[in-house]
């Protein structure tokens, strides 16, 4: 059996490895337009910010390791079309290539802005590691940067620019950073830190043009002009699936490829995984697109197993997420107050600000936990957190709580680890849950 993957990101690599593991005799071929696979693009902002000393550290495996694993990776190749009827893809410079099963892992791209000047030098879309290496040298001579819209990668890039001592301006038509996913009170400590670091924050303002002679010198906005040696795009991620659309694969309302829980698309021999596909949310049963690399990798494994003749199911998601935002960690699961309110989900919010270690132990940090609870079922519909540490583990835990359908009462009486160096006597999740229970029971 020949299984072909289009895309060498976490979805494609997960799919290839799982397909090979399921059927070691399968021929597994990956086509990627880039020079490398198996690196962590999410680490790029941290190399720019000098927290990580070299791009080399972002590589997870060598090209030889894939050869030894029997995975045939075709680098710097572009797939131009898919012929579903004859089960072939057309690869530039290789011609027609047949497949028995095809797995689409073509990932995402930045939503393009419809403004002039986009072909100027100096406009940076953080994604590819080789390009990031060149941009890193460019950043050595940059004095002024503008971050255009403040999505998750842009949040990390703002911190990177601050660490490099580059005068940075954020121009975003939205009212606060990551405003489509995160509540304003959760982002407030981050926003304050940026302000104190001298970042010029322009919320509610839109970039209308990139200007310069061949190279960017400034951007025009709805309220004026900002000098900039570099513009970093932080627009939302959109699915990169023009190839699938042109082939006639069905697309959902998110713009992502429609798949079932086995990763199968509208064509029985074609699977999809990662950011090019849409996944069902475990609370609303509404499809979503553009989750994390860990989701893409796990989806890739599911698609790879099933494409190779095995059986694996991907579960609806409750989206535990977390990231570093300046000196803070932010994270949560599913909905925040803003997104729940937008969809029209009724909720009660239990909230507390606690500490991550014993109050006397060196390095203790504050952490704010908000739990959103459905008043009728008393189950979680979401959570958001901001703190100095311990956000990731709590988000993972709450993701399982949400998926298992535990009630807020179970969380309010949860047992917790107490050890001065790693956990406080009172677990902030339990205290936030107790606050929610009091509100649900009408005692507040």
């Amino acid at each position: 059996m020949k299984i072909v993957m289009i895309g060498g990101g976490p979805g494609g690599l997960g799919a290839a490895g799982a397909a090979k593991g399921t059927d070691p005799s399968a021929e597994t071929v990956i086509y990627t337009q880039f020079e490398d696979v198996a690196y962590s693009p999410c680490g790029i902002p941290f190399v720019h910010g000098k927290e990580i000393d070299s791009f080399d550290r972002l590589f997870l495996a060598t090209k030889e390791q894939y050869v030894q694993a029997g995975i045939d990776v075709h680098y710097e190749t572009t797939v131009e079309s898919i012929d579903l009827k004859n089960k072939k893809i057309h690869v530039r410079s290789e011609g027609d290539v047949s497949y028995d099963r095809l797995i689409l892992c073509s990932g995402w791209k930045y939503k393009e802005l419809d403004i002039p000047g986009q072909d100027l030098d100096g406009i940076y879309r953080v994604k590819n590691i080789r390009s990031a290496m060149e941009w890193d040298k460019f950043l050595d001579n940059v004095k002024t940067a503008v971050v255009v819209e403040c999505g998750p990668i842009a949040v990390e890039m703002v911190s990177a620019m601050v660490h490099r001592g580059i005068k940075t301006t954020v121009v975003d038509p939205n009212p606060w950073p990551m405003s489509e996913a995160v509540d304003p009170d959760i982002m407030e400590p981050v926003r304050k830190d940026w302000e104190e670091a001298g970042v010029d924050l322009r919320w509610g303002e839109r970039v209308t043009a990139f200007r310069g002679d061949k190279t960017l010198t400034h951007v025009e906005t709805t309220s004026g002009v900002v000098d900039a040696d570099i513009a970093i795009l932080g627009t939302p991620k959109v699915p990169n699936n023009d190839l699938a659309k042109a082939a006639g694969i069905k697309i959902g309302s998110t713009g992502g490829i429609i798949i079932d829980s086995r990763g199968r698309t509208s064509d029985p021999d074609v699977f999809a995984a990662g950011d090019c596909a849409e996944i069902v949310h475990g609370i609303t049963n509404v499809p979503l697109q553009g989750l994390s690399g860990s989701h893409a990798y796990a989806q890739g494994k599911v698609a790879g197993v099933n494409a190779a003749g095995g059986e694996r199911i991907y579960q609806p998601v409750h989206i535990p997420w977390g990231m570093l935002a300046g000196e803070w960690m932010i994270g949560g699961i599913s909905f925040g107050e803003t997104s729940a309110s937008a969809v029209g989900i009724n909720y009660i919010c239990g909230q507390t600000t606690g500490i991550t270690r014993a109050r006397y132990y060196p390095g203790v940090k504050p952490i704010t936990v908000k739990l959103l609870v459905d008043p009728k079922s008393r189950r979680l519909v979401g959570a958001q957190m901001v703190g100095g540490e311990g956000v990731k583990e709590r988000a993972d835990f709450l993701g399982v709580v949400s998926r298992a359908g535990l009630t807020i009462d179970a969380l309010a009486s949860m047992e917790n680890v107490y050890s001065p160096a790693i956990g406080a006597l009172n677990e902030p999740i339990a205290i936030a849950a107790q606050d929610a229970v009091m509100k649900l029971d009408g005692k507040v």
Partner: protein, 87 residues
């Protein structure tokens, strides 16, 4: 670049303007910077007509509308993990 389908258009617009409205209410409640006021015919239609109508709809009707769009949710997924609000 291939143009977006009608379901994509309706979802992206409704999501965006429902989010603007929620950000506005959240900003007022918590004392933060609100989003820009609606400008132009398109923004006014979505913010001042669509959003109030959507908000008046009961959850069951909102859910029916959302489920009627094409997407992965209409394929086979394990049902036992769905935790619909209010259920």
């Amino acid at each position: 670049m291939i143009a977006m389908s009608f379901p994509q258009w309706i979802r992206s617009n409704s999501e965006h303007y429902l989010m603007c409205d929620a950000q506005d209410r959240m900003a007022k409640k918590m004392g933060f910077n609100p989003p820009n006021r609606p400008r132009g015919l398109k923004e006014r239609f979505w913010r001042q007509l669509f959003v109030p109508i959507y908000r008046l709809m009961p959850w069951s009707m909102k859910k029916t509308v959302m489920q009627s769009l094409p997407g992965s949710h209409r394929k086979s997924w394990p049902r036992r993990f769905f935790r619909s609000p209010g259920s």
